[in-house]
């Protein structure tokens, strides 16, 4: 840790003073480690600052007493700072949210995390007021993938590729499990693609934990969307009603139109992906450039294909 500024030091001291006051003779090293305070600064601040803190008229009986002996510390008469500053709302949310999410992931029904969370919730006076769902995914699948990551075991995967609208079978070496935008993902080295891939856990149709182990490669977990140069590019003109497409879909350029609409350049990484978009938008969108690459009548043929189900 580099040099702390005065706010960092103040925040830490307000936590350290009550803690040391309740633990007479605690070792300097332990304070430094617990509160992330470089030891030499800690020692100086205790002796040169805290020692001189008190209230008017600053007679010895109205000041904090600090003593240091053989690296052991005593703090007395620090009554104003007898209790630590309470958590800010955001700090409280951060701890409760982290604790609740991890508890939900582990499925533990006892243990120190539950104990700590229960005490914290009671002290803060919240019980039902905060709910955290990082993502929805079948519990068995989550367990299987987490086991595979910990034990570095290869997983055989039946995976539904949403963009291409097809079911695939492949072996993966899973490295990391994470939630984003309310969904669970696993990043892995995919043996079929011989490259790193990110899989959405709720689109895994079936998974088989094999006995084969693998060496971690340290995947980078890139964004799940990287178009290839060879993917066709189209320009989609949308009306004001559908201008949200520019925000919600990864694109390669947007020209806003005077009437609130927009011209959006999109990389077509997979055909079903574009079919979905067109059939949802209907007359609010039309392809004005690049139709020769994706077919003249994509909307018409897609709509007709879906209609078959309703005949």
């Amino acid at each position: 840790m580099s040099r702390l500024n005065s706010s960092d030091r103040l925040a830490r001291l307000l936590a350290i003073i009550p803690w040391v006051a309740s633990k007479p003779g605690v070792h300097l090293d332990e304070i430094a480690e617990r509160f992330d305070y470089p030891r030499e600064h800690l020692e100086a601040d205790l002796l040169e600052v805290v020692q001189f803190v008190g209230v008017y008229p600053f007679t010895p009986d109205t000041m904090i007493e600090v003593s240091l002996d053989d690296d052991q510390v005593w703090i007395r008469y620090a009554d104003w700072f007898a209790r630590p500053l309470k958590l800010t709302g955001e700090q409280a949310i951060s701890l409760l949210a982290a604790g609740k999410s991890v508890l939900a992931m582990s499925g533990e029904e006892s243990g120190p995390l539950l104990g700590g969370l229960t005490k914290l919730g009671a002290a803060l006076g919240v019980d039902q007021g905060l709910e955290i769902r990082l993502g929805s995914a079948p519990e068995e699948m989550v367990d299987l993938l987490r086991t595979a990551i910990t034990e570095q075991r290869v997983v055989e995967l039946d995976y539904y590729v949403f963009g291409r609208d097809e079911r695939t079978h492949r072996a993966i070496e899973p490295e990391r499990f994470f939630a984003d935008e309310g969904k669970w993902y696993v990043s892995a080295h995919c043996r079929m693609a011989d490259d790193e891939r990110v899989f959405r856990v709720d689109r895994i149709v079936a998974a088989d934990l094999t006995e084969e182990t693998f060496e971690r490669r340290g995947t980078q977990s890139p964004g799940s969307f990287t178009p290839r140069e060879s993917d066709p590019r189209i320009v989609l003109e949308v009306t004001a009603n559908a201008s949200w497409v520019a925000q919600q879909y990864p694109n390669e350029g947007v020209v806003e139109l005077d009437d609130g609409g927009a011209r959006i350049t999109l990389a077509v990484t997979a055909v079903p992906w574009l079919e979905r978009l067109l059939v949802r938008l209907g007359s609010d969108a039309r392809i004005i450039d690049g139709t020769e690459q994706v077919g003249e009548n994509m909307l018409a043929t897609t709509a007709a294909r879906i209609l078959e189900r309703y005949r």
């Binding site: 706010s7 830490r12 307000l14 803690w19 480690e33 992330d36 805290v50 803190v53 008190g54 209230v55 008017y56 104003w80 007898a82 209790r83 630590p84 500053l85 309470k86 958590l87 800010t88 709302g89 955001e90 700090q91 409280a92 951060s94 701890l95 949210a97 982290a98 604790g99 999410s101 991890v102 992931m105 120190p112 995390l113 104990g115 700590g116 969370l117 005490k119 914290l120 002290a123 803060l124 039902q128 007021g129 905060l130 709910e131 955290i132 990082l134 609208d165 994470f178 939630a179 309310g182 969904k183 709720d202 149709v205 079903p272 979905r276 009548n297 043929t301 709509a303 209609l307 309703y310």
Partner: protein, 302 residues
Amino acid sequence: MSKLERLLNLLAALLHTSVPLTAEQLRTRIEGYPDADASFRRAFERDKDDLRTMGIPLKTQTVPGVDPPIDGYRIDPEEYAGSDPQLDPDELAALHLASNLVRFEGVSGDQALARLGGVVGEQEVATVAALPSDDNLGPLFEAVRSKHSVTFRYNDTDRELDPYKLSFLRGHWYLIGYDHVRNDERQFRVDRIDGRVEVGAAATTERPASTDERIESWELGDEEPIVARILVDADQAGWAKHYLGRDAVVQSHDDGSAEFDLVVRNREAFRSFVLTFLDHAELLAPADLRDELISWLEEFAA
């Protein structure tokens, strides 16, 4: 005289006093302020800001018995300190590990834990999730916790709400509560609140045993609710079950396909959702909704 020492002494004075102290009183009692009036004012304002930024409840109050009225300052020790949860070292360590796994943007888990007894246990773990922050979350959490009403602007309308709950769902923060303008339970996306929320008087309604969260686009609407049934093919039925929830499943067929019942309050958004399945799903009922979908497709079909 360091700024750190001045801030600690200012804090001690404000916590110690039972009556509000004026800026002048604080200036004479605390060493380290500049002599010139203007410089003192600036330094004093900065100090107050520094303390408030840390979440210290520094109150400005009128000093009693003085005419003309003059501002004074104090900190209520009860508001300053929270009640101590008395966490054991293994509980602190478990929370430390959790706060490394699931982070909250803009908040240091370690600094939060310092206020509960410090950071225990050293764990290098990969983050599994980072929750987005929002300036309104802190005040909203306080309002939920202390059962106080809040006012804010949303969709160009002023709202007054008894907040019941903050929920993080599908990647977004939602606020659920009793809306005194609509006289009903309502929910709001926290990141779509316009400006800052104001915390008002004590809430006048009680939080119900359970709240009714809606997060899907087709649930967010003011149309008369209808129950729609869809059939989803086997390949997609798996994720649809997780996405829509097992409660929504009304029938699982032997071929792996499944039927779902969903409450729809926004027909257009629901049509859009059904179409994301392309030809792997079919809207079965009600008949008028099915007909609407068919007409939509016929308009564009070749």
